[in-house]
């Protein structure tokens, strides 16, 4: 498991020796150097830095929340809160027998709609290809969109989903977290919605606090009584 956690900034030497540089590190001679502000973790044979800041960079298989920006006759363009736009081909929605003449894209998704999508393909030569043809993916009909820092998404999910499960149970809300830092919260009761939003905000602002799960729990319980 991870040991020797350290706070690092760009240029800091995380460690020296025969390690594999992973996420946010580079090898310089025999030194492994951090390239971002974050927390370094040394595993058996690899080193990584968990970033505390930065934009979302698409990764294949990530679940993201996208907002429809525009469409051509063949595809939609999604804003996925990144430096690249998500590319959603029409075939993905209409199926293989899609015809640019017969099918009108605006009937399925309009500009401004929110969709839950998965990054199907992405490399440095082209914009990320997204897909919504899977269970739990597709247009989002109800809920409130919240923005958190993409680097705090793992904290909001918690270990094996502990944090998000706790918030969902305490508020009866359904929460969809995109890896790109966009979160959709939907809840039947307005109080539950408010509480869930507050809890997510709290995680976003205090992600570095050690026993955050307990604090969030306390906040959720307290508000429930009053």
């Amino acid at each position: 498991m991870a040991d020797k956690r350290k706070y690092v900034i760009p240029g800091d030497v995380v460690t020296t020796g025969p390690f594999r540089p992973e996420q946010n590190t580079v090898l310089d001679g025999n030194k492994i150097v951090s390239t971002t502000i974050g927390i370094s973790e040394i595993y058996d044979d690899s080193v990584r830095v968990i970033p505390l800041t930065g934009k979302y960079i698409p990764k294949i298989n990530d679940l993201v929340i996208g907002k429809v920006n525009s469409h051509t006759s063949l595809s939609w363009e999604l804003d996925i809160n990144s430096c690249y736009v998500g590319f959603l081909p029409a075939q993905d929605v209409f199926g293989r027998d899609f015809s640019a003449h017969a099918d009108e894209l605006a009937t399925k998704l309009r500009t401004g709609d929110l969709v839950a999508a998965r990054i199907a393909n992405f490399d440095r030569t082209r914009d990320p290809l997204v897909s919504i043809s899977d269970r739990d993916l597709g247009k989002i009909d109800s809920g409130v969109l919240m923005e958190i820092s993409p680097s705090k998404v793992p904290r909001l999910i918690g270990k094996k989903g502990s944090m998000i499960q706790m918030i969902e149970e305490a508020t009866d809300a359904a929460i969809t977290i995109g890896q790109n830092g966009w979160v959709v919260v939907s809840c039947e009761s307005p109080e539950g919605l408010l509480k869930a939003k507050k809890a997510i905000q709290m995680v976003n602002e205090q992600a570095h606090v050690a026993n955050l799960t307990d604090q969030v729990k306390e906040m959720l319980d307290k508000k429930g009584e009053s």
Binding site: P10, V13, V33
Partner: protein, 244 residues
């Protein structure tokens, strides 16, 4: 130098400079990371009487599109002085000097920033000089590097900068406005402290080879002092003093 004749005493008989500093003493430096909500990363620096605010955006889409590069991201820097930053009102339109400093700072940051990770994007750095008192390019470069780190742009190292110079036949650290105007040489230095590489080196004035070597050494040592403050600024924002 091309400035005015030295009418003032730049160094007294005790080796004290015109503002009371010793030869290798920098001015008071305060750096703060963050502060601007709408920018992806930002910083504020007070370097003696210089006050500079930096905002960073990106990586983001390149506009105009034809500027984008399919192999790598691009870095764009705008250094701008406010009309009220100097004694007499400065025309806010970009001057020849501002365009040059923008280019110089861009080229001093490029070795540190790993733009190749974001092809077809741009990173924009906006530097606003609120108050100028000599050595703004070094202060701006120092602050820009903190703002880039704050924005989470991957960097091989931080870039710290400070000027060395020659006044009254003595090599000094951190040239202020008076010493710049009336002194004999001014040498701004940008330095990556962990990689031990110089990214910016300019020289205005005449130095002997020995003085040149000494100037570079004094400047590099000064950059290491500045680097400690950059580190502190980022530690304060992200780790609340817990950082080592």
């Amino acid at each position: 130098m091309g400035g005015r004749e030295a009418t003032m005493v730049l160094m007294d008989e005790n080796g004290k400079r015109c503002d009371g500093r010793t030869v290798d003493e920098p001015r008071r430096i305060m750096i703060k990371a963050g502060g601007l909500k709408n920018a992806d990363g930002s910083s504020y620096i007070e370097f003696g009487d210089n006050k500079i605010l930096v905002g960073v955006f990106g990586p983001r889409d390149v506009h105009p599109k034809h500027m984008s590069d399919t192999d790598t991201g691009i870095l764009r820097v705008r250094y701008h002085m406010e009309p009220f930053s100097v004694g007499e009102r400065k025309n806010p339109a970009p001057s020849r000097r501002e365009i040059e400093i923008s280019k110089v700072i861009k080229e001093a940051l490029e070795p540190a920033v790993m733009l190749e990770k974001f092809p077809r994007t741009a990173v924009d750095v906006f530097i606003e000089v609120l108050q100028a008192d000599g050595g703004t390019r070094c202060a701006a470069l120092t602050a820009a590097s903190v703002a880039l780190a704050d924005a989470g742009i991957p960097m091989r190292d931080m870039v710290a900068a400070i000027a060395a110079g020659k006044v009254a036949d003595t090599v000094i650290l951190d040239v202020n406005n008076e010493e710049d105007q009336a002194g004999q040489a001014d040498m701004p230095i940008g330095y990556m402290p962990n990689l031990e590489k110089i990214t910016l080196l300019q020289l205005d004035g005449v130095l002997t080879p020995e003085e040149y070597k000494k100037c570079v050494q004094v400047g590099v040592d000064g950059c290491k002092l500045v680097y400690e403050l950059q580190k502190k600024a980022l530690n304060d924002k992200y780790f609340g003093n817990k950082g080592d």
